[in-house]
Amino acid sequence: MKAIVDIYLKPGVLDPQGKAVHHALESLGFNEVNDVRVGKQIILTLNESDENRAKERVKEMCETLLANTVIEDYKIEIEK
């Protein structure tokens, strides 16, 4: 089983990378872009067959280490 964790800066927390990418897109003529947020994706391969249990454990990993919840939100997706 795989867990895919997406981590982004919380809405309201200014994202310097997102801002720079947005600026670059604009100068390339992609004017339809309203906002850019840059995050990171962490892919975990788990030896766990129970989806709920996996989700619970990965949530714990996010809260403990993977995300800094002062500034970051995370989203967990389980892939079988």
């Binding site: 927390v13 310097p16 990378q17 280490l65 800094n68 002062v70």
Partner: protein, 223 residues
């Protein structure tokens, strides 16, 4: 004063830090992060700069779980003095020994230069030998020094004198090199025994280095 300087894999400012504290007459010891106790008699623990664990995931995120950090937390809880410089500051934030978090610098660059900073509060041991409004010239060198803390928390921190250093120019006007909230360069905890700052006082500890202002800062720790 006895000072313990913590070394993680990737720490690179431990010798400069030791040199600076030796200059003001402190006994220093560099301790490995696997240690589970702070050496007996230690009065100040310094977490120096560098790139602990290669800054992987987030600066300081992995160092936070080293065995020594549990001991540092207990030491701080008992009222012991802790100073985090640069990466050390980031580690203290990740450890929740200090409030807030670091983001990438606003301009996304690694910024390495001399930077003026201003004392906003000297009602703490660290900056006790300086005056409010004093301007110091201290090197900064970081890519993740963009300090963030929520508005409500920030207000409380001001009220309690926890915002201790601010980036400025030579005249004291705000000059923000990294996008930090209110150009904050250094803070302390509510009990005023845990300090964190991005500038490197140990790199400004004698004339030949371009500034001795760092000595004026760290001298606060000695009686």
């Amino acid at each position: 004063m006895r000072v313990a300087i913590v070394r993680f894999p990737g720490t690179n400012c431990e010798f400069d830090t030791e040199y600076a504290f030796n200059r003001i007459g402190c006994k220093t010891e560099i301790i490995w992060h696997k240690l589970e106790d702070i050496p007996k008699g230690t009065e100040l623990v310094v977490i120096p700069g560098g790139f602990s664990y290669g800054d992987y995931l987030r600066s300081g995120a992995i160092a936070r779980f080293s065995p020594i950090m549990k001991a540092v937390k207990e030491f701080a809880d008992r009222g012991g003095y802790v100073l985090g410089i640069c990466n050390g500051f980031q580690i203290l934030l990740e450890s929740h020994l200090l409030p807030g978090a670091m983001k990438r610098n606003e301009n996304l660059h690694f910024v390495s230069k001399f930077q003026y900073i201003k004392v906003l509060s000297n009602e703490n041991r660290f900056l006790s030998k300086l005056q409010k409004g004093d301007i110091l010239n201290i090197p900064i060198a970081h890519a993740e020094g963009n300090y963030f803390v929520e508005k409500d928390r920030l207000k409380k921190m001001y009220d309690k004198g926890q915002i201790i250093l601010q980036y400025c120019d030579k005249e004291g006007n705000i000059d923000n090199p990294n996008g930090s909230v209110d150009a904050i360069a250094g803070i302390c905890n509510e009990n005023k025994n845990v300090f964190g700052l991005m500038p490197h006082p140990e790199r400004a500890c004698e004339k030949v280095l371009g500034s001795e202002d760092g000595i004026k800062m760290i001298k606060g720790f000695i009686d």
